[in-house]
């Protein structure tokens, strides 16, 4: 017992030692400190630290204190900070959260003396920044921007006698490929799925819009279940899978694509970087998302955003966001990590297009719309609905009606 207590005492002393060590050196009076949080991984921290050093060199009056938080746990970390009004000055957030946070007065609009709305509209791709507006003002700048592109297994295509180099251009060709690339054994069990689509909203949305359907009205409310064209498009989207050509029970779609069990995928350009390490031997092609007419390859943009808390020093925080969204920094991201740029002048920058796959990904953003399901909760409602369509006999109309109600409720839940 005595021994225990003495060990405890020592432990307590160690603690107090550490506690004393926490007091920070007083900051120089003329510098403003900007606290910054981002979701990230060990792999991206180093790059961000370099960017911050560049910023501090350019603006010596500002100092940035950055913290990097695992992506899966980001909300759990950010929400208690928001709840206690102790959120960092600048932080990242999923694009769909911007309106919610602005409504709750947790974030403030960008300082127009640093970033004028006219310049933003002129210099940035509109589908990437339009979703960051609330009540006519910009509340943030996009980061980690993604579109939807097409990827296919070239070996499978060659084996089936298809044009492995160019891929399908229209949706008719796309489904034709998907069926031709599907293989079953004598008992009818799948051995290769032509396509691994399971209704991810980022791919359904451009599919619907290309087919003349509507997801949202002018006010952002979801109206897809009221629109017969949209319902027909969703049915068409699922025809392939519902005919027994793909299900998660066969394989998870990206795992299957890596392993040569799934031939075609629609997905984010970020997968290009992923596949380099996870499937180095996979020979695959990349193209723009198919088009109804073969011309209008409309895609859909989703992103995160840099925003600033309502307590942040507005000028300093906006200056930092301006720097993070600058051409210079975007160029670094694209050339080193393949992340898509949203500054218009970079879309035709040939120095970024040395990798042909990345080049296609960059050009996909030129013809795109803003994704409208960009929060975790909306994404979950949608994918539950799609899972019901795929795995049960419920009528498509009923399921869409049901998730439309849930989504609108989620959108307008009173804060």
């Amino acid at each position: 017992m005595k021994k225990l207590l003495s060990v405890l005492l020592v432990a307590l002393m160690v603690v107090s030692l550490f506690a004393n060590g926490t007091s920070e050196a007083p900051a120089e009076p003329e510098t403003t400190t900007i606290r910054y949080w981002q979701h990230s991984s060990a792999a991206r921290d180093a790059m961000m630290e370099r960017i911050i050093a560049m910023f501090e060199e350019k603006y010596p009056q500002y100092k940035v204190e950055a913290e990097f938080i695992p992506e899966a746990d980001y909300n759990q970390k950010l929400i208690p900070a928001l709840a206690t009004d102790t959120a960092p000055d600048v932080f990242q957030i999923q694009q769909g959260m911007v309106a919610k946070l602005a409504e709750a007065c947790a974030i403030q609009p960008l300082d127009t003396s640093v970033m004028s709305p006219e310049d933003i509209a002129k210099n940035k791709v509109s589908s990437a920044v339009d979703g960051l507006k609330y009540d006519g003002e910009y509340y943030g700048m996009p980061t980690d921007t993604q579109t939807i592109i097409l990827m296919w297994n070239k070996d499978h295509a060659r084996e089936a006698g298809l044009d492995a180099e160019n891929g399908p251009q229209t949706w008719d060709e796309f489904f034709d490929w998907a069926y031709k690339l599907t293989k079953k054994d004598a008992e009818g069990n799948l051995i290769q799925a032509g396509w691994g689509g399971k209704g991810y909203w980022c791919e359904v949305m451009p599919f619907v819009i290309q087919h003349g359907g509507k997801m949202n009205d002018e006010n952002g409310n979801f109206i897809f279940a009221d629109d017969p064209v949209t319902i027909a498009a969703v049915k068409e989207y699922f025809e392939f899978a519902k005919a027994g050509n793909y299900s998660e029970k066969f394989t998870k779609n990206w795992a299957g694509f890596r392993q040569g069990l799934v031939s075609i995928m629609l997905g984010h350009p970020a997968m290009i970087g992923n596949l380099v390490t996870t499937a180095p031997n996979l020979d695959y092609g990349v193209a723009l998302i198919p088009a109804v007419d073969g011309e209008n390859h409309l895609s859909c943009v989703s992103s995160w955003a840099y925003v600033m808390s309502s307590k942040a020093p507005s000028k300093a925080a906006t200056t930092f966001i301006d720097f993070l969204a600058s051409e210079e920094v975007e160029k670094m991201w694209t050339s080193e990590t393949g992340q898509l740029p949203v500054t218009k002048s970079l879309l035709n920058d040939d120095s970024l297009k040395t990798n042909p796959k990345i080049a296609i990904a960059i050009s996909s953003i030129e013809n795109s719309v803003v994704g409208t399901l960009q929060t975790g909760a909306m994404n979950k409602i949608w994918s539950n609905g799609m899972s019901r369509i795929m795995n049960t006999d419920e009528k498509v109309e009923d399921v869409l009606r049901d998730i439309q109600n849930q989504l609108n409720e989620e959108l307008h839940s009173e804060l």
């Binding site: 990230s40 792999a43 992506e71 208690p80 996870t278």
Partner: protein, 276 residues
Amino acid sequence: MANTTKKKTGHIVLFIVLCLLSVIIAFPFIWMVLSSFKKSEEFYYLVPKLLPESFMLDNFKELIGKWNFLSYYKNSIIVTTFQVLTNLVIVLLSGYGFAHYNFKGKSFFFILILSSTMIPWVATIIPLYILANNLHLIDTMAGLMIPGMANAFNIFLARNFMTSIPTAYIESARLEGASEKRIFASIILPSVKPLISVITIQKMIDSWNAFQWPLLCVNSERLRTIPLAIAKLSSQYYDSYNLKMAAATLAIIPVLIIYVIFQKNFVEGISLSGVK
């Protein structure tokens, strides 16, 4: 004579059964350790292989060199040691109090302690954060350690196990004039060694793997613990399974050591004939 041969065959049969069961039960553990030598792409094979293609140490090198993984051990060891010790003191004292005394409010206090385990963490984590924030404990070592100082279930366990100490021992010591403190230190504690082992092992694992509160409480690098460091090995579009496996393997070593040391307190009590 016949009895001993029967015993011997019994032991041999049991030994074989135990070998088979162990392999099945520990298979995921073995797989995890072996996987820490694999390359990233090996995790995406259609049918994963048990053995790595080559026993390369790159994952460990990257963790220790590039990510400075070993530096997080210091924080984890400080927090865990502190919490295991405070837990022992708090749990043993209160377990004895509840097991061998009758006093006013006994069941109230006992239910109060148990009730702390009945509310989902989702509801209390933000109030706890608000509390710690008002006390300026966020991002301090003290704030990191305080919410894990004792485990309510362990108090329950201690109470249950201590009730089996015969009251007669305690009474006779009292009659001999021993103080309550002395009774606790020289009669109770020595007779609950298995209990001490169990709560030490349990709390050690608990504190070592604690994630939720450290995630909220720690903002700066100097306080980061091992589970927080492991979480950073995944990102939005890419999980470094290979690094995660290596990190999980490295992180397990102290737990394994503590377990091996403390389970020695359980002697093989009964011969085979007793329980079979």
